[in-house]
């Protein structure tokens, strides 16, 4: 599961030491990146602890200067999530590669790394420990820890601990750590990151207080949470020998057939029998007696079997059309917003869902003149960098937007969310998504689907505007015409200016189909100068 170093090669050093040495792998290469990355890790943990568990998030992020002379910053993130059991806290924050997310379910974090590398970096640059305050919904007390990581042993060192009675019904976690950073240069990135997070979490209250004393508050606008992800069994297409061995060694199944049926999704009685028949393995065999060779044969048969159901998407947690629309509305107050959540699809045995939202007009900033402003997300995490090499960028560029009546540059945002139990990131940066055929085609279909709605809206708007423009170009002359006629015909001759004007307004209104009072509004706005 871990994409990090295989333990046997680095037997001599602990994971903590490894990430201490190679912290840039986890994004902590310099004070700018480190501050940004630390905020990200804590915020993503906070969101994982809330929205994945059916809790409407209240999240508070505080960054403050922690030393008069040096560039030390204290980052505090508070959430109202499920909290941690007190006995787990030291390990969760003090042991690298310790996580509750090593299961097949869509979450933001997944390596058991993030918080710890941030803590390591803080420890190394400032020497200050991490502080954690947490309580779970069913607990009566609030627990407090001050921790440090023993790098050589990859173990937590508890510096201080305590607990007190809850006198109100609070649950959640507050993590506070101090690290060397470069606020002035990381500022923009961090603000961007939080803004983009806010776009896809309209169900969250987010408060962000900066070292400059600015307060950003994104207020919850919708009470609906995305459907929480459910843990699922792996799909047989994604199987490999290592996984098979682990199942054989750790499982307690009486027969091979039972092992297959209980370890994988989409394998029932019939499928299990035919798989084993093709592999030439007796269904009643005790799995522990299977040789590696037999396992390999089984893996091959499973990989080539054509009749599995496609992977279940229950492990996925798409945002949903309502949430995307609410999120875009909350930040951009657009005149048009639409979204679509595509049906689940799969690549190489991994389920994925593509979602697209488009916001147009209102406070949406102007795009560049080549393609709309793109907001990319993978598993609800905003992707801020390497836009150029992302497959969605490519798709967005390939669409001829004028066909959808969008004249670039335009106030248009295209939001693309790809969620999957395994997002095919490009490179180690995890900032862009690789060009996978199935994903590309889903992204394109999704964008087209929403863009068609945008076109319908724009074309209607254009027609209305044309009509109104036409009215203005006629109505603006009414006063001059009335004036001229009354000069020539004189008031004595029974021609009243007021009556003429009224009639002309009526004629213009009748002819253009624009209501009389709107025509009047233009006529009344006219001033004839000298």
């Amino acid at each position: 599961m871990s994409a990090a170093a295989p333990p046997e090669r680095y037997r001599a050093i602990s994971p903590a030491e490894f990430f201490y040495k190679y912290r840039e792998i986890a994004g902590f290469s310099n004070p700018v990146r480190a501050l940004y990355q630390a905020v990200r890790e804590l915020v993503e943990n906070a969101l994982d602890a809330t929205d994945s568990h059916g809790i409407l998030p209240n999240i508070k992020i505080i960054i403050e200067k922690a030393d008069e002379n040096r560039e030390f910053y204290r980052v505090t993130v508070e959430d109202n999530g499920i909290g941690l059991p007190p006995h787990v806290v030291p390990e969760a924050f003090g042991r690298v590669l310790f996580s509750s997310k090593y299961i097949l379910r869509q979450t933001r974090g997944m390596f058991g790394l993030g918080a710890k590398v941030a803590i390591l970096y803080g420890q190394m640059t400032t020497g200050r420990p991490v502080e954690v305050i947490t309580s779970q919904p069913n607990l009566k007390r609030i627990y407090y820890f001050k921790l440090r990581i023993d790098i050589n042993k990859n173990e937590p060192i508890i510096i201080e601990r305590g607990s007190w009675r809850k006198n109100r019904d609070w649950h959640g976690t507050i993590v506070s750590m101090t690290l060397e950073g470069d606020w002035s240069r990381a500022k923009q990135r961090i603000k961007d990151y939080i803004l983009r997070t806010a776009v896809v979490t309209p169900y969250a209250n987010i408060v962000f207080i900066t070292p400059d004393g600015e307060i950003y508050y994104y207020e919850r606008v919708i009470d609906k949470l995305p459907r929480p992800p459910r843990e699922v069994k792996p799909h047989p297409y994604g199987v490999d020998l290592e996984l098979m061995k682990r199942i054989r060694d750790n499982g307690s199944f009486s027969t091979v057939k039972e092992m297959l049926m209980k370890s994988f999704q989409g394998i029932g009685n019939v499928t299990a029998s035919s798989l084993l028949e093709i592999a030439g393995i007796s269904p009643d065999l005790n799995p522990k007696s299977l040789s590696d060779k037999q396992l390999l044969e089984l893996v091959n048969v499973m990989k080539n079997y054509k009749r599995f159901r496609s992977p279940t998407s229950e492990a996925l947690s798409p945002l949903g059309e309502e949430v995307i629309k609410a999120g875009l509305k909350r930040i951009y107050e657009p005149e048009f917003v639409e979204a679509v959540t595509r049906k689940p699809s799969a690549y190489q045995g991994h389920p994925f869902i593509v979602e697209v939202g488009i916001a147009y007009g209102g406070k949406v900033p102007l795009s560049n003149d080549k393609y709309p402003t793109l907001l990319r997300y993978a598993n609800k995490i905003p992707l801020l960098y390497d836009e150029g090499s992302d497959v969605t960028t490519d798709v967005v560029k390939s669409i001829s937007w004028e066909q959808y009546l969008v004249k670039l540059p335009a106030p248009i945002i295209v939001l693309v969310h790809i969620c999957s139990t395994k997002v095919p990131f490009k490179g180690v940066g995890k900032e862009s998504i690789a060009d996978v055929k199935e994903i590309r085609s889903e992204v394109k279909l999704a964008i087209q689907e929403v863009a068609r709605k945008l076109r319908a809206y724009l074309s209607k708007k254009l027609k209305e505007e044309e009509k109104k423009k036409r009215v203005v170009s006629l109505a603006k002359y009414v006063p001059e015409v009335v004036r001229a006629l009354t000069i020539i015909l004189g008031d004595g001759r029974g021609v009243k200016a007021k009556l003429l004007e009224e009639k002309l307004v009526e004629i213009v209104s009748l002819r253009t189909g624009i209501p009389k009072d709107e025509v009047y509004k233009v006529v009344k706005s006219v001033e004839i100068g000298v």
Partner: protein, 434 residues
């Protein structure tokens, strides 16, 4: 200021027509119908050369100018605005010039668009725009600007044995000293009282007019001498027309030997494209082009050569315009060298517009000019009133020689030559184009 009775009558008539026409527009509006102005189209495509009357006339096509048509709304407003200004001037006994009307009507209209943004728009920007509106009003009402007492700058001048009444004064046009009588913008209000003249000579150039005047040409030859000082204005044309129509005097027109001179002649004779609605009143179908003619400069041999080249277009009949024996030039070889001017590309283009590309292409030998014209004017058919044998003969020499000449050149040969030889000979021998 005493207003002459003639003026008063004209005013009253115009006021009535204006009121009547616009009352019907107001009536339509009050009935809830779209306001439209129906008037003849004033465009080249609706300008017809009437072969029988030999006049450029306004064709039968009408245009409907509606306030409810986005493309016409502004013009509609301008037309009503202009009508109201003219109306006010009429009832206030004023004599506005077209420039006055431009200034009186020029103001801004401010309005707000659908987004509430403020816009400013001028009723008109340049005088060209308001002038066009005046022409529209003339055709819409069927009333000419002179009848609405609208003035324009005086350009034309006249001297001769002619006594006229203008306003309440009687003026003897033979007693103008070195000066001349400026033809007033409302020549219809002039009354001819006494005349002792045998013909009218109109010269394009003011300078040549003055020379002939000082030389005593009109006294010696019993002529009325007129200059249009370039393109003739309406008053000069109307004045010439009245001399021809009412006093039955022959009219001779003397211009430069170039496309602009020829066009000036045609404006006097048959009318202009922009004012074709006035041709019936302004054109002088009897006017004759007396010179300076290309054959006077180069002789008829040159024309004979050219005509041979044109038989493929016009057949053999073209030969009939050549006289027997062939006319000799008035200028010697040496004089010609001194006086003629090389034609500019613009001149050649204009000449092609008059007589047609086919003629030009057959005659121009200079390869550069030939190519230039091919690129720009291929297919141009020429005006029918210039595609007559006489004019083809005349203009053919311009193409083959690519040369032009100003009347002043004839005067340089000697004012005496111009006054006592050239003009009298041309008239006596009937050597003109009609």
């Amino acid at each position: 200021m005493a207003i002459s009775s003639v003026d008063k009558y004209a005013r009253q008539k115009s006021i009535e027509i204006l009121r009547k026409k616009f009352a019907s527009i107001a009536k339509r509006i009050l009935e809830g119908k779209r306001p439209v102005l129906i008037m003849p189209k004033r465009v080249l495509s609706n300008t017809i050369y009437d072969m029988k009357k030999k006049l450029l006339l306004l064709g039968p096509e009408m245009k409907r100018r509606s306030l409810l048509d986005v493309n016409e709304a502004r013009k509609f407003m301008q037309t009503l605005l202009m009508a109201s200004i003219i109306y006010e001037a009429l009832v206030n006994d004023e004599y506005p010039t077209i420039r006055d009307l431009y200034y009186r009507g020029k103001h801004t209209i401010s309005y707000r668009d659908i987004l509430g943004r403020l816009h400013h728009e001028n009723t008109w920007d340049e005088q060209r725009e308001s002038d066009a509106v005046i022409r529209d009003i003339e055709v819409f009402l069927g009333v000419l600007r002179e009848e609405m007492l609208i003035l324009s700058k005086e350009k034309g001048k006249v001297v001769g044995n002619l006594v006229i009444r203008s306003g309440d004064d009687v003026i003897d046009l033979s007693k103008m000293g070195h000066g001349a009588y400026a033809i007033e913008p409302t020549p219809d209000l002039i009354e001819f009282k006494d005349i002792d003249a045998e013909f009218v000579l109109v010269v394009e150039k003011d300078a040549v007019f003055q020379q002939l005047h000082r030389y005593g040409f009109w006294k010696k030859y019993k002529a009325i001498l007129i200059t249009s000082a370039g393109q003739p204005d309406r008053a000069t044309r109307r004045f010439v027309r009245r001399l021809s129509e009412e006093l039955k005097l022959p009219i001779y027109i003397l211009t430069d030997a170039d496309p602009y001179g020829w066009y000036i002649y045609s404006v006097f004779k048959i009318g202009s494209i922009t004012l074709s609605y006035e041709s019936e009143r302004l054109a002088t179908p009897n006017a004759k082009f007396i010179g300076v003619s290309m054959t006077d400069i180069f002789g008829e041999e040159e024309a004979a050569k050219n005509i041979k080249k044109l038989t493929s277009i016009f057949g053999k009949d073209l030969k009939n315009v050549l006289s027997k024996p062939r006319k000799k030039p008035y200028l010697s070889e040496k004089e010609r060298k001194n006086y003629i001017i090389k034609a500019k590309k613009k001149d050649v283009e204009r000449a092609v517009e008059l007589v047609g590309y086919d003629v030009a292409d057959k005659l121009i030998s200079n390869p550069e000019i030939k190519k230039y014209i091919r690129q720009r004017k291929m297919g141009v058919s020429g005006y029918p009133w210039f595609r007559t044998p006489e004019w083809i003969k005349e203009i053919s020499i311009f193409f083959s020689k690519l040369a032009k000449l100003e009347i002043e050149a004839m005067a340089s040969k000697g004012l005496k030559f111009l006054a006592d030889t050239y003009i009298p000979t041309k008239i006596e021998t009937g050597d003109w184009i009609d």
